[in-house]
């Protein structure tokens, strides 16, 4: 066998020539790869956002509901009115609470999935977390209305367990209580947490999975009981996942207008006001101005999250 004999090299085709060019000029390759997504996002998405921004400087003719294309800062002045500030604050507080609660609920599950569940159990858990995401959000929401209603499943269960007094005590809490769970801020909160929980579980699970087992063993080896290991080693290392998950829970809460309309005490959240102003009242300029609030809030939030390494954990 004469292996030293070289194989014939094929005649250079157009494909080869392009390949050669791209190989020797990596910059060109990068450009070719990036052009379509950059065009899409740069033109369509950023373009749309800029249109929205531009709209924020227009105003609405009070009577006809037509947009007047004259630059004005009136919308921003209006944003600073008490009621609007209330809405913004209420929404941010709700988003933060939902995010915190999601972390608290998601962490043990994610931890269990990542470090203990194996094989079929793990697959089952994964499926169980994903399944709600695939069943219509709206149907789940209305199911909650039924669960939380005054004469709904939760009250029914509480009555069966003779725990009605607990429920009443909860509903009696000022600020978050109300007539029934489905008529209270508490209800809105529960449903938000429910809706976005899977978006928190998955990134945390992924980030815990990435922690080398030897680090946890090393902590135990050095004398740390499991609680200390959790606080000193696992939590800090799962932080990117937590931050990534919180981007979802935070942003989804910030923009949702359907949940608080169905469950809650009729106080408004940013999403509803934007929707109402844009859709119902047709006041696109004010809606645009108001939608800058979540943009700014999320912007600040993303800046923080990025420092925690959340983008690599999304």
């Amino acid at each position: 066998m004469n292996l030293a004999l070289a194989l014939p090299t094929p005649a250079p085709s157009l494909r080869r020539r392009i390949s050669d060019t791209l190989y020797t000029r990596p910059g060109l390759l990068l450009l070719a790869l990036l052009a379509p997504p950059l065009l899409w996002f740069g033109v369509i998405y950023v373009g749309a956002l800029l249109t929205l921004l531009a709209n924020a400087f227009f105003s609405l003719d009070d009577f006809t509901g037509q947009v007047v294309r004259e630059l004005t800062l009136k919308n921003f002045a209006e944003l600073l009115e008490g009621a609007n500030l209330d809405v913004a604050l209420r929404t941010v507080v709700m988003a933060s609470a939902v995010t915190l609660a999601s972390i608290v609920l998601a962490f043990p599950l994610a931890y269990y999935m990542a470090r203990h569940a194996r094989g079929a159990t793990k697959a089952a858990l994964y499926l169980a977390v994903m399944l709600p995401l695939w069943s219509s959000y709206l149907v789940r929401l209305y199911a909650w209305k039924l669960l939380l209603a005054k004469e709904g499943a939760v009250s029914w269960l509480a009555a069966q367990l003779h725990l009605t007094w607990v429920l009443e005590a909860l509903l009696g809490l000022p600020g978050i209580g109300g007539q029934s769970l489905s008529f209270s801020t508490l209800g809105t909160f529960i449903v938000f947490v429910y809706m976005w929980l899977p978006f928190m579980v998955l990134p945390i699970q992924a980030s815990i999975e990435r922690i080398p087992g030897s680090l946890i063993e090393a902590s135990g080896d050095l004398g740390a009981a499991p609680g200390i290991t959790l606080r000193r080693v696992i939590l800090p290392l799962a932080l990117p996942g937590i931050a990534a998950g919180s981007i979802f829970t935070f942003s989804l809460t910030l923009g949702d207008y359907i949940v608080p309309q169905v469950i809650g005490d009729s106080t408004m959240y940013i999403g509803q006001v934007v929707y109402l102003q844009q859709g119902t009242a047709g006041n696109v300029p004010f809606a645009a101005a108001f939608s800058l609030v979540p943009i700014v809030v999320i912007g600040v939030y993303l800046w923080f999250a990025r420092r925690l390494g959340a983008f690599d954990a999304l």
Binding site: D62, T64, Q179, S182, L276
Partner: protein
């Protein structure tokens, strides 16, 4: 008139309508209530319906375009006319127009500058719906049961057991109540409020916020709320009462002594309607006494064609009267509040203020 269709042509094969829910039925829910299938067969115009839950939504949809017709209430129709989103109607092309109730033929919400912008469809009022188990035989006579905290006949407070409408136009309901309750405010028209009158209405609503657990937004959610949330009294439409009644719920309606706000809807045609011929055919069809009577029975509204009140099997002969046919004058029909108002020297609070202030009231401010 310029821009008006002068002669009816051939149907375009379809017509796109923005309508209130339940306004255009093709028997999906109840086989008996179908006034679309026949029309489609007769004219070859396929009817596409987009429902809208509020007047504001309707205006927004019309502004966005893509529709031929809209069943606009009075608070939307003026905005549509002035916004030039609807076109003048040539009543000559609608033979049945002459059968329309005389009180409606030139009603201000569709007739402006000597021009027709719509064809009356139905009208009705915002009744007080209540739970008969709670109120026993003492039916409420005043809107105060939903505005002010008090004990109901069953001995328990109304707090958390009453509802109000989740829309800025509800400020007019408050004004109407104040018109009777506090004559010293000098309210003449609930849609034309001076700054002081408006403030008083808001004050009343702020008080109401404390006893309302959740505001109602659409009819079916309110039905749920009366079913399993313990709500016992609220402003409502006859429609909800009819459905709850059909479910054997202990529900009745009443028009309190202060009177009521109401709505009168007209079918209006988009300025850029793509299917004008089918649109005219539908408007003609919409005045058909059978349709008017069926719809009235279905929705709990009052027909725009008096002939419909007689001999309709679904409505019954007492139907029109029950739904308020004779109370036309007691009703303050929905209109869009504007700054230039006749009754208060053009010093009224405009609608956009109503919107933001109502959001504030709901937010507890």
């Amino acid at each position: 008139q310029k821009g008006m269709l002068q002669k009816l042509g051939k149907g375009e094969g379809q017509v796109d309508i923005v309508a209130w829910p339940g306004y255009i039925e093709r028997g999906q829910t109840d086989k008996q209530f179908d006034w679309v299938t026949g029309f489609e067969q007769k004219t070859g115009c396929k009817v596409n319906v987009k429902t809208a839950g509020t007047s504001d939504e309707m205006v927004a949809l019309m502004n966005e375009g893509g529709f031929d017709l809209v069943t606009a209430s009075g608070d939307a129709s003026t905005r549509l006319i002035r916004g030039k989103k609807v076109q003048p109607i040539n009543t000559a092309l609608i033979p049945s127009y002459k059968n329309v109730d005389a009180r409606l033929q030139k009603a201000p919400w569709h007739f402006e500058g000597n021009t027709h912008y719509g064809v009356p469809y139905q009208w009705g009022w915002n009744v007080l719906m209540y739970n008969t188990t709670v109120f026993k035989d003492k039916a409420p006579t005043s809107w105060s049961v939903v505005f002010e905290e008090q004990n109901l006949p069953d001995g328990k407070s109304n707090k958390g057991r009453v509802q109000a409408f989740d829309g800025p136009i509800y400020i007019a309901d408050a004004a109407l109540y104040l018109k009777a309750k506090k004559p010293e405010l000098g309210i003449k028209d609930p849609y034309e409020l001076t700054e002081a009158q408006y403030k008083a209405a808001l004050e009343l609503l702020r008080g109401q916020r404390k006893i309302v657990g959740k505001y109602w937004h659409d009819a079916f959610v309110q039905i749920d709320d009366f079913t399993n949330e313990g709500v016992v009294a609220s402003s409502s439409w006859q429609f909800q009462a009819n459905i709850l009644g059909s479910k054997k719920r202990p529900i009745a309606t009443v028009v309190p002594t202060e009177g009521a706000t109401g709505w009168a809807d007209s079918t209006m045609m988009h300025a850029d309607a793509k299917h004008p011929n089918c649109a005219y055919l539908w408007m003609e069809h919409s005045l058909n006494p059978k349709l008017q009577g069926d719809l009235s029975a279905w929705f709990g509204s009052v027909p725009a064609v008096p002939a419909a009140c007689k001999g309709n099997a679904l409505l019954g002969d007492e139907g029109c009267k029950r739904q308020g046919y004779e109370s036309f004058d007691k009703i303050s029909f929905w209109r869009t509040p504007v700054a230039q108002c006749a009754s208060q020297n053009n010093q009224c609070v405009p609608y956009h203020k109503w919107v933001s202030d109502y959001i504030a009231v709901l937010g507890g401010r």
